[in-house]
């Protein structure tokens, strides 16, 4: 069975498979491009504003953005952040307060400047908080540190008085420019665009030297440091980029609801659901957050219509099944099914 060189048939196949990694990537890239094309053109042949799938996908996209941020910091870097809802809320509040006080004076309501600033504010906070937290805390302790940060942020906004609008937050409907009409199509496209951008950012980061550093940190911080990786720098960078993504998502949601209050944008929904989506879809994978967001929101959206009051049971059962049989998430199916998975050498 073996060759003259001592390589048996299976190993021969192993080598031949590893010669074709680019083809596999090409297939997935093509699939992703087709999916994006489908979603981008959907409003041309479907009434996104009035149809149920418009708002369904809009919400999925918003969750994907937050989930990709968490995926970067936790899935790829191994730092469990429990403060994403705080970053989401800060982004929403940054947009709302700047708009409410007409700081940018742009005069229109879907302001890209405000959306960028909504990412910048949580980015800065993440750096300020991340340096002390990430330099001194690891694992569970870092997770609890970020959880505490989230609670502090929530209380600050609730008790922010006239500055934040306190418990009632800020109502943005009166700030709509005269003649502006709400159409979900715009929100849908913006959310899709940002979700795709967030995915590309995570892709670009994780396939660069930065990605190698992040993975090295995740596997073994001490070893990474001994090989010259600036551990704190990369951990803070991942934490801050993830926070910025959550912040931009917060601004998109704020523009949709036109009402930003602590109970809307600082709720734990924006923390635990994205985590669940990433874990269910596949931690540390590019497409996992998309798959997880779609499945979780599908169950949430339709579950309570047909199993009112009992839908959490469905979510629970699905999560248990996936964790039992697919601990690496739904994307793990691709790994294990013939013809779909990566074969041959592992990535770094």
């Amino acid at each position: 069975m073996g060759s003259d060189l001592g390589i048996d048939g299976a190993d021969m196949k192993l080598l031949s498979e590893t010669d074709r990694p680019d083809k596999r990537k090409l297939v997935w890239a093509g699939f992703s491009a087709l999916a994006v094309l489908f979603f981008a053109t959907l409003p041309f042949y479907y009434d996104v504003h009035n149809g149920q799938f418009g708002v369904f996908f809009f919400n999925v996209f918003v969750y994907v953005i937050v989930a990709q941020g968490w995926n970067l910091v936790s899935g790829y870097t191994g730092q469990i952040s429990l403060g994403q809802n705080a970053f989401f809320g800060i982004g929403a509040y940054t947009m709302a307060l700047l708009w409410f006080n007409d700081v940018t004076k742009t005069g229109y309501y879907f302001d890209p400047v405000l959306m960028i600033l909504a990412g910048v504010a949580p980015f800065i906070l993440a750096v300020l908080v991340g340096v002390p937290l990430l330099s001194r805390l690891r694992g569970d302790y870092f997770a609890f540190g970020t959880l505490g940060m989230g609670m502090i942020v929530t209380v600050l906004f609730i008790n922010g008085g006239m500055f934040t609008g306190g418990a009632e937050g800020r109502m943005l409907v009166p700030k709509m420019p005269e003649g502006a009409v709400f159409n979900l199509r715009t929100h849908y496209w913006v959310a899709l665009l940002v979700a795709v951008l967030a995915t590309l950012v995570v892709y670009a980061l994780t396939t660069s030297r930065i990605g190698l550093a992040l993975r090295a940190i995740k596997e073994d911080e001490v070893s990474a440091a001994s090989h010259g990786v600036n551990v704190l720098k990369y951990k803070v960078m991942a934490f801050a980029v993830g926070a910025a993504m959550a912040g931009v998502a917060g601004s998109i949601y704020g523009y949709y609801l036109l009402q930003v209050t602590p109970s809307n944008v600082l709720t734990s929904n924006w923390l635990f659901l994205p985590i669940l989506m990433v874990v269910l879809g596949g931690t540390g994978t590019i497409l996992g957050p998309w798959l997880g967001a779609f499945l979780i929101y599908l169950i949430s959206w339709y579950g309570d219509s047909y199993f009112a009051g009992y839908h959490p049971i469905i979510s629970g059962v699905v999560i248990i099944l996936v964790m039992l049989f697919l601990p690496s998430g739904l994307m793990g199916l691709g790994q294990k099914l013939p013809g779909l998975g990566r074969r041959g050498r592992g990535s770094g």
Binding site: L14, A167, M171, Q259, D304, G309, G332
Partner: protein, 463 residues
């Protein structure tokens, strides 16, 4: 080397994969297939647009059969009127959500038993309620409204009973011109200087109405209970204590300002984290400040903890009044006799002199092991008003129904005669209650419907 991980964190070498065996593959395939089927079933069910959560109409009607049915009075029956209902079916607000659902379903069953609603087509129509879970969260309230409008095409809805949830859902209703018939949400308008944005009344909603009380005035209901005390026994130094949540801070700020505006002295304003297990430091502050009257917004479990620690420290003010957490039967059951003489808010009592109040209260008791409710009459009345508005409009057009409620008067509900203003707001008076010794609910305020006087909170060592 720098490949992106499309699949999983630790790729399985092909050899292992190959030698893993068909059995393993089959199991994975089965799981994958099961998940796919689950997703497909959900989508296909959605496409069918079937209704699964409804109140039971006395006689099941379908579109074709209904047109040929007649009532006992010989009036032709038309199609069912399907009304949406946003409700906290799950989450932290499920307790009050269930009471609200019971009352709404009772109202629907009662009107169906009378033949239904007569529309301009001359036919009678049964009412069917379809429920949507807000999961006790504002974001889910917005999603529930989206689902109702877009999945089922329903554009008239009864509301949930939490202000932030109803605010979020109302924002969505506004965008799609669906009529949202709100109750149990603070009615406050924005302050003239804009520093306070208000609640439902401050949103300038064109497609929603609200029957409830303003947060500021609601806080003063506690004073109604004070005024029902003998003058010599009344407290003079108040403390406001509230949970540090959006609802809590909104309530606390409003109540403190309201008490002070009426000339009462507030010597302490304390906020605590929801789920707090140690109130000893707050009680100590109250002792030091000479507090003899406490007004609080607190959840039932926190309320039980607070009262138990009051007893442990042998501290008792003359007057203790709580919103949100002191009225449930579970609160009294949890504390037993220690809950005696504690005051609380409510929206309704079966002792009120309104039509059907007594019968509704009895029906609730019959369905709930003899327990009473201080809220179901409000929810029942809201449904009554909506049914009246639909009948007056003669159609289920959301705009026509809304127009009947704005500036509308609705006599003879279980909340008495209700009138909405031109902003779609109907202010109702809150009630002050007290747990009498033995667990009976006593209405203290308003005076004209009171069933007793406020009894001073008896010190622990004198019980």
């Amino acid at each position: 080397m720098n490949e992106v991980r499309f699949f999983t964190r630790v790729p399985t070498p092909f050899v292992t994969h190959f030698k893993g065996g068909f059995v393993k593959h089959r199991r994975l395939l089965l799981i994958g297939a099961a998940l796919m089927v689950l997703a497909l079933v959900a989508v296909s069910l959605a496409a069918c647009g079937s209704t699964t959560t409804t109140t039971a109409a006395p006689a099941t009607t379908d579109t074709t059969a209904a047109t040929t049915d007649t009532t006992a009075a010989g009036v032709e029956m038309g199609d069912d009127i399907v009304i949406g209902a946003i409700n906290s079916l799950t989450g932290s607000n499920v307790l009050t959500g269930q009471e609200e659902k019971w009352a709404q379903e009772k109202a629907a069953a009662d009107i169906n038993a009378k033949g239904g609603i007569k529309l301009a087509d001359g036919k009678m129509h049964n009412v069917v309620l379809k429920y949507y879970d807000d999961k006790s969260q504002p974001t889910e309230g917005a999603s529930a409204m989206e689902k109702m409008i877009k999945t089922d095409g329903i554009k008239i809805a009864l509301s949930s009973n939490i202000t932030p949830v109803n605010q979020a859902a109302a924002q969505v209703a506004e965008k799609y011109e669906a009529y949202y018939h709100i109750t149990s949400s603070w009615t406050d308008e924005a302050s003239p200087d804009g520093s306070f944005p208000g609640f439902i009344g401050g949103m300038d909603l064109k497609w929603a109405t609200d029957m409830f009380e303003s947060a500021g005035d609601a806080g003063l209901v506690a004073i109604g209970g004070v005024n029902a005390m003998d003058e010599a026994d009344r407290p003079t130094k108040f403390a406001v204590m509230t949970e540090n949540t959006p609802d809590g801070v909104g309530f606390g700020d409003g109540t403190k300002a309201g008490l002070e505006a009426q000339g009462w002295e507030v010597v302490s304003y304390e906020k605590f984290v929801e789920g707090n297990k140690d109130f000893s430091s707050i009680i100590l502050k109250f002792k030091e400040a000479g507090v003899d009257g406490v007004v609080t917004l607190i959840a039932p479990t926190d309320g039980i903890t607070f009262v138990k620690q009051m007893k442990e420290q042998n501290w008792a003010p003359k007057y203790l009044f709580g919103y949100k957490g002191f009225w449930p039967v579970d609160f009294y059951a949890g504390l037993g006799d220690d809950a005696d003489y504690i005051g609380y808010d409510g929206f309704w009592s079966e002792t009120l002199p309104y039509p059907y109040a007594k019968e509704l209260g009895q029906a609730f008791q019959d369905d709930h092991n003899g327990n009473t409710s201080n809220s179901v009459g409000l929810y029942y009345a809201a449904a009554q008003i909506l049914f009246m508005a639909i009948e007056r409009a003669g159609s289920t057009d959301p705009g026509a129904v809304r127009d009947e409620v704005f500036n509308g008067s609705f006599p003879g509900t279980t909340m008495g005669d209700i009138t909405y203003n031109d902003q779609g707001i109907a202010d109702i008076p809150f009630l002050a209650f007290q747990w009498a010794a033995g667990g009976e609910r006593v209405v203290l305020y308003p005076t004209e419907v009171a069933t007793g006087k406020t009894v001073t909170f008896v010190p622990w060592d004198e019980r």
